[in-house]
């Protein structure tokens, strides 16, 4: 369960996130939608304690991320921005992350298998394709077998096979009772994967609804999204 309360982030004169409040519940995939520059990645970083909010807070199971001890057991996250050292192998990237949170080596091998990186795990990350980097990022998110997952644009760079793979993975993780929060700007993919939607524009909440309800109003999710974001904040 993720609880966002009056979350606000100002960079100089720009208000990137503006008094955002919503809740993400376990058991289904929640998509986080918004046009480019809407504040999705900033919100994700605030949730993970990477940036400090100007006001408000983001709580994960009632706690702020920076209060979590061994957070990989509680939250698995993948950012859109590159967050690994190219000179290290994928295996070693996962190994140091696992060690920092007292996770066994066996868990590293397990997530490498889960994302299908066995052949590339012992090569340096600088030689990875975008799709392989995404898979490594997902492996890192799954390391601690966490009940909460935050994934920023996980479909980026994946081939059609990879897209189908991640769709099933996300649905399975949610079906196991986890909280799955996924940002995306692919409407068709979102319609197939998510049940719940959080839509933001210019840092503000535009909609907090279900996919069926929003798509039902406008005929398609894409059409509904364009109408919603073109109108600006309600």
């Amino acid at each position: 369960m993720i609880d966002i309360r009056h979350l606000t982030k100002r960079y100089g004169r720009t208000l990137a996130v503006d008094d955002l409040s919503f809740t993400v519940k376990p058991g289904h995939v929640t998509a986080f939608l918004g046009p480019n520059g809407a504040g999705k990645s900033t919100t994700m970083r605030l949730m993970l304690g990477l940036d400090w909010p100007t006001h408000g807070e983001a709580l994960i199971d009632g706690e702020r991320y920076e209060r979590l001890r061994h957070p990989l057991h509680r939250v698995g996250a993948m950012l859109e921005a590159r967050s690994m050292h190219g000179g290290r192998t994928g295996y070693h990237h996962l190994l140091w992350m696992a060690q920092s949170n007292r996770l066994p080596k066996a868990r590293v091998n397990r997530v490498v298998e889960m994302v299908g990186l066995q052949d590339a795990a012992h090569r340096r990350v600088s030689g990875y394709s975008l799709g392989m980097t995404q898979r490594l990022g997902i492996a890192a998110a799954l390391l601690g077998d966490p009940p909460v997952l935050l994934l920023d644009e996980p479909v980026n760079g994946l081939d059609p096979e990879g897209i189908v793979w991640i769709r099933h993975l996300l649905k399975d993780l949610a079906a196991e009772g986890r909280t799955v929060f996924v940002s995306s700007h692919f409407m068709a993919e979102t319609a197939l994967t998510a049940q719940h939607l959080i839509v933001i524009g210019r840092g503000r909440l535009l909609a907090d609804t279900t996919v069926a309800e929003l798509a039902g109003q406008a005929g398609s999710l894409e059409e509904a999204f364009i109408r919603l974001t073109a109108g600006g904040p309600r």
Binding site: L50, Y65, G87, T89, W96, S100, N101
Partner: protein, 254 residues
């Protein structure tokens, strides 16, 4: 804390390009020390020994320290430039703890590397000095060896702290390399600026390495060997605290 320390050790040893920066220190310090010893020995042949053989012994560290400084920069600077810092903060959001673990891992690595370098440099120099050599137990030698280990370790930590403060490898190198190059060339001996320059971190550490001449008006210092290391330690601590302050205060992204 031990788990974070283990993870920081894994981070250091698994990036080959960073580890390689220590190789020049390990190889060139003894090699240059041997050549320096030889050249001193040759020029002093047949004359009475009125020079300090430890000057010839540790002079090569003024070059060897460059590799250590670059290591200290890259070990933290590459986390910022590659974005790996974001993964690090997600794994360990307690920023002070993460930073402390990293600094401890660097200290452990550097004490080992510095000890090997100092001992190898000492014996290489004595081999070069031939008849002018000193033994391990001679007056001032143990002190100078301990000093060399602490000196190299602190140069590395100074580089780490400065890089963490500035969050940029390039900015840190722009400050460090001229400082250390000019320092090795005798910045602290220039009369016009000596009052200030002798208190620069590397200059302060040179007394215990016998790279200064006690009581000499130009090549001497206004402080002793251990006070010098103390001055160096204050600089190092300031740089490390600057890094901690930056890390705790700022957003992780640029």
């Amino acid at each position: 804390m031990t788990s974070i320390l283990l993870s920081e050790w894994t981070k250091i040893r698994t990036v080959r390009s960073t580890v390689w920066t220590l190789l020049p220190t390990l190889l060139f310090s003894p090699a240059i020390a041997f050549l320096a010893g030889r050249s001193f020995s040759d020029s002093l042949a047949g004359r009475p020994r009125d020079f300090d053989p430890l000057f010839a012994t540790f002079y090569s560290l003024t070059l060897g320290q460059l590799g250590v400084a670059v290591f200290g920069v890259l070990v933290i600077g590459s986390e910022h430039s590659t974005g790996a810092i974001r993964s690090a903060l997600m794994a360990v959001p307690q920023r002070g703890k993460l930073y402390l673990a990293k600094v401890c891992a660097i200290i452990l690595v550097m004490l080992g590397i510095s000890a090997v370098t100092a001992v190898a440099t000492f014996f290489a120099a004595q081999a070069g000095l031939g008849p002018h050599k000193v033994t391990l137990g001679a007056d001032g030698v143990p002190e100078a060896l301990i000093g060399a280990v602490l000196y190299l370790t602190m140069i590395c930590l100074l580089a780490t702290g400065l890089t963490a403060t500035l969050r940029s490898s390039i900015a840190a190198l722009v400050i460090l390399l001229p400082l250390l190059f000019l320092g090795g060339a005798g910045l602290g001996n220039i009369p016009q600026i000596k009052d200030f320059a002798q208190y620069l971190p590397d200059q302060a550490g040179m007394v215990i390495l016998h790279l200064t001449v006690p009581d000499h008006p130009q090549f001497g210092r206004d402080y002793g060997p251990w006070t010098g290391l103390g001055i160096m330690a204050l600089w190092t601590l300031a740089a490390l605290l600057g890094g901690l302050f930056t890390l705790r205060r700022r957003d992780a992204v640029h």
